[in-house]
């Protein structure tokens, strides 16, 4: 256990720090006025994840097996290449020339934005402590692998580990970037997937996401109070609710990594446009590529967000629209962004095309919503989704930004355009021809709302200082703070109350181990009950035969899909096994093992004559269909 922990603690920085560190070194050099130590420390982790994805994809393409030593070697080669580029660009003579030109314009400027005062540092440290502590407390009761989504994802990760190659999914639901990073860390460290590893990687991504949002807020408003408050609004408020702690333990991989990469991409875009800097333009394209390889919904949200930001800025500057457009074209038509665009296109088209890059998947996500869950959220649902405290503070921030709108400044179009489009996508997706479950879109609202909430609070503090009626302003401030803390932390209080279900998970795993040992997977077909068995989605990792092996009875509402007919055998073989339709299902599917919750269907199954009961624990019963 201790050795495994040490190996993991060494593998994490190797995979998640070194590639990003050397990549930034090659781009910006050792010490650059363009990027502060604080920003560099934050950015290297998401960049490393993207780089690791691209390295693994390339290795697979050129038939290099994805094994621990090979991966370590490939990462080392990448770092070496970056170091050579760094030496070439910045070493000795190059360094003097570059440093002079780059650092002269805004030397120390970057450091100043993130050089916090004593009290700002205290606020940030308390926020980070609370963010980590609340999540750790919550995860302590859910850390044994059991979550459904995580189980599905980890099957593919295990497939990479087992075969040494990237999997062919055959379905658009999974994207390669959701799995590579887990496989790489497991292969490098030797720590197995059915441990805390997946949850810890997601936890790290979630915490880094708070930082990427904070550096975006820092660059947007150049106000250190707002940056410090952003740690509170994004990290502490609603720390457990989706898409935070619950998504970490639930294994909603794409969202968690997407929530980290989205603010990063916007941070690069902001700096590219604001500072007319082509390096940041290239890094924006690079992070967009990373998102495309990681999560379709996050990529979709980013594309809409960028379109809204561009549109907001162009509308605000309609009189000089041509000049603005030319300026943007100029930024993106320099060698570095063009090289990154070419490189990304080459990768996406010729090296590895994500499974959702097809007309069918695109047409499924666009057009008029066809299901009730896609018609949009009402205000009450949006409030539940984002959290009332965050929503009200975000609304305050939105209002304050709107009344102080300055059309030439990017901060307004960025913050307002981003929040507005996500609100519209959640509230009235039909207006934008979006056909995606609205709650999933609504989960992204917390990103701009956290930034706006920090802005709202920060500006309110500033107004309070200037106010002549300090007494009433202070009363109002403390009332708001009381409301924010009580409502915003209410979900965190629940983290201390939940009861773990480790025993149920372990009993499920034991039954899977039993079947993996005794059943012949080439002949025996297993059906398990997803509805009443905890941790059952991890069952498939014990067999590693096929994503759909064993068969599973899903949530009952899934069988009543009005948009397309669904198979019902997996339901009928458990609910009505002795009826004609049940028997027909058994003969058609060949199912001969049924795994059930002992106390529920397990009890009623005992009365059926066609089955033997071959396994019984307090929680799981396994029945075998008698041979005819």
């Amino acid at each position: 256990m201790t050795i495994d922990l040490l190996k993991l603690l060494l593998a994490l920085p190797f995979a998640l720090i070194l590639p990003g560190f050397f990549f930034l070194l090659a781009i910006f050099g050792g010490k650059s006025g363009k990027i502060s130590f604080f920003e560099r420390a934050v950015i290297i982790i998401p960049l490393s994840i993207i780089i690791i994805d691209l390295i693994a994809i390339l290795m697979d393409k050129i038939r290099v097996p994805l094994e621990g030593v090979m991966l370590i070697g490939s990462i080392a080669i990448f770092c070496l290449v970056c170091f050579i580029v760094y030496q070439f660009r910045f070493g000795k003579r190059g360094a003097q020339a570059k440093d002079r030109s780059e650092n002269s314009e805004n030397s120390n400027d970057s450091e100043k934005i993130f050089d916090f005062s004593y009290w700002q540092t205290v606020v940030i440290l308390i926020s980070i402590f609370l963010a980590v502590f609340i999540r750790t407390t919550y995860l302590a009761d859910t850390i044994v692998p059991s979550a459904t989504d995580l189980g599905h994802h980890m099957f593919w990760v295990q497939k990479i580990i087992q075969t040494g190659h990237l999997p062919v999914y055959g379905m658009p639901d999974f994207i390669i970037g959701e799995h590579i990073i887990f496989a790489v860390i497991s292969l490098i460290s030797g720590v197995k997937i059915m441990t805390a590893l997946p949850a810890l990687v997601l936890f790290l991504a979630n915490i880094v996401g708070i930082f990427t949002l904070a550096i975006l807020a820092g660059r947007l408003f150049k106000n250190k109070n707002i940056t410090a408050l952003c740690f509170f609004t994004s990290g502490v408020l609603y720390a457990i609710n989706a898409p935070q702690g619950k998504y970490v333990s639930g294994g909603v991989v794409g969202n968690i990594i997407g929530n980290m990469l989205l603010p990063l991409a916007l941070y690069f875009l902001l700096r590219a446009l604001k500072e007319k800097n082509s390096l940041f333009a290239g890094l924006f394209i690079f992070s967009l590529t990373g998102i495309l390889y990681t999560h379709h919904l996050s990529a979709f949200i980013l594309i809409f967000s960028v379109a809204a930001i561009f549109l907001a800025y162009l509308l605000a500057n309609i009189r000089r629209i041509v000049a603005v457009l030319l300026e943007w074209v100029k930024i993106f038509s320099r060698p570095f962004p063009i090289a990154v665009i070419m490189f990304s296109l080459f990768y996406l088209l010729f090296i590895f095309t994500p499974s959702y890059f097809n007309p069918e998947a695109v047409s499924q996500a666009t057009g008029q919503p066809i299901k009730a869950t896609r018609f949009g959220l009402d205000f009450e649902q949006i409030e539940i989704n984002s959290g009332s405290a965050r929503l009200i503070l975000g609304g305050l921030g939105f209002f304050l930004l709107l009344i102080g709108f300055e059309r030439r400044k990017y901060r307004y179009s960025f913050a307002l355009g981003w929040a507005f489009i996500l609100f519209l996508m959640s509230w009235q997706p039909g207006w934008l021809y979006i056909n995606i479950p609205s709650t999933r879109v609504g989960n992204y609202l917390f990103l701009p709302l956290s930034v706006l909430a920090a802005y709202g609070m920060g500006r309110y503090f500033d107004l309070l200082k200037k106010s002549t009626t300090k007494f009433f302003s202070a009363v109002l401030l403390y009332t708001i703070l009381f409301f924010v803390i009580t409502y915003g932390l209410s979900d965190s209080a629940d983290a201390f109350k939940i009861k773990n279900q480790f025993q149920e998970s372990l009993e499920t795993f034991h039954s899977a181990e039993y079947l993996a040992k005794t059943a012949d997977t080439s002949r025996d077909i297993i059906l398990k009950d997803h509805v009443n068995l905890y941790g059952d989605s991890w069952y498939k990792l014990f067999f590693m035969k096929d994503y759909k092996y064993p068969l599973s009875r899903g949530v009952l509402s899934r069988y009543a899909d009005q948009t397309k007919p669904r198979e019902t055998c997996t339901r009928d073989m458990i609910m009505i096994p002795e009826t004609e339709s049940g028997k027909k299902c058994f003969s058609e599917t060949g199912v001969n093992f049924v795994v059930l919750n002992t106390q529920l269907e397990g009890n009623s199954f005992e009365k059926y004559q066609d089955f033997s009961k071959v396994y019984g624990s307090n929680y799981v019963s396994i029945f075998k269909k008698n041979d005819p």
């Binding site: 256990m1 495994d4 922990l5 993991l8 603690l9 502060s36 130590f37 604080f38 420390a41 450091e111 993130f114 050089d115 916090f116 005062s117 700002q120 540092t121 940030i124 440290l125 980070i128 402590f129 980590v132 502590f133 999540r135 750790t136 995860l139 302590a140 850390i143 044994v144 059915m194 441990t195 805390a196 949850a199 810890l200 936890f203 790290l204 915490i207 773990n500 480790f502 025993q503 372990l506 009993e507 034991h510 039993y514 005794t518 059943a519 012949d520 025996d524 005992e606 004559q609 033997s612 009961k613 071959v614 396994y615 019984g616 624990s617 307090n618 929680y619 396994i622 075998k624 008698n626």
Partner: protein, 121 residues
């Protein structure tokens, strides 16, 4: 300087948190740690063998009593004492000839809990 303090503090916090969570998971990813359950199963579910195993995950030594029935007649009644975190394989010897289609049922009891296994030969 404050940026470095924040980053270093975050790294320390995360290392502490990861270590705690890793250890919690590793300890709890055991059939016995802070758990109380038992399981009984046929050694081979697909043939006519009646060998079965009882695993004790009750966290203490447990004495299981088991009865074996052919149809409705009880043919064996015995006890099996099993240490905590241990298992015991039992190979019952049924006297006489068992006719094809007979249902063999094994009922294992521990305190109030009952674990039932059966096969139709």
């Amino acid at each position: 300087m404050s940026g470095k303090i924040i980053i270093i503090a975050t790294i320390i916090l995360l290392i502490a948190s990861f270590s705690v969570l890793f250890v919690i998971e590793a300890k709890n990813h055991s059939y016995d740690y802070k758990k109380a359950w038992s399981v009984a199963y046929f050694e081979n579910p697909s043939d006519d063998s009646l060998d079965f195993t009882i695993e004790n995950h009750q966290g203490e030594y447990a004495e299981y009593d088991y009865k074996i029935f052919i149809g409705d007649s009880k043919v064996i009644e015995d006890k099996a004492g099993i240490d905590a975190a241990a298992k015991q394989k039992i190979s019952p010897v049924l006297g006489g000839e068992i006719s094809r289609g007979s249902k063999i049922m094994i009922i294992i009891g521990y305190k109030d809990a009952e674990y039932k296994l059966y096969k139709t030969l």
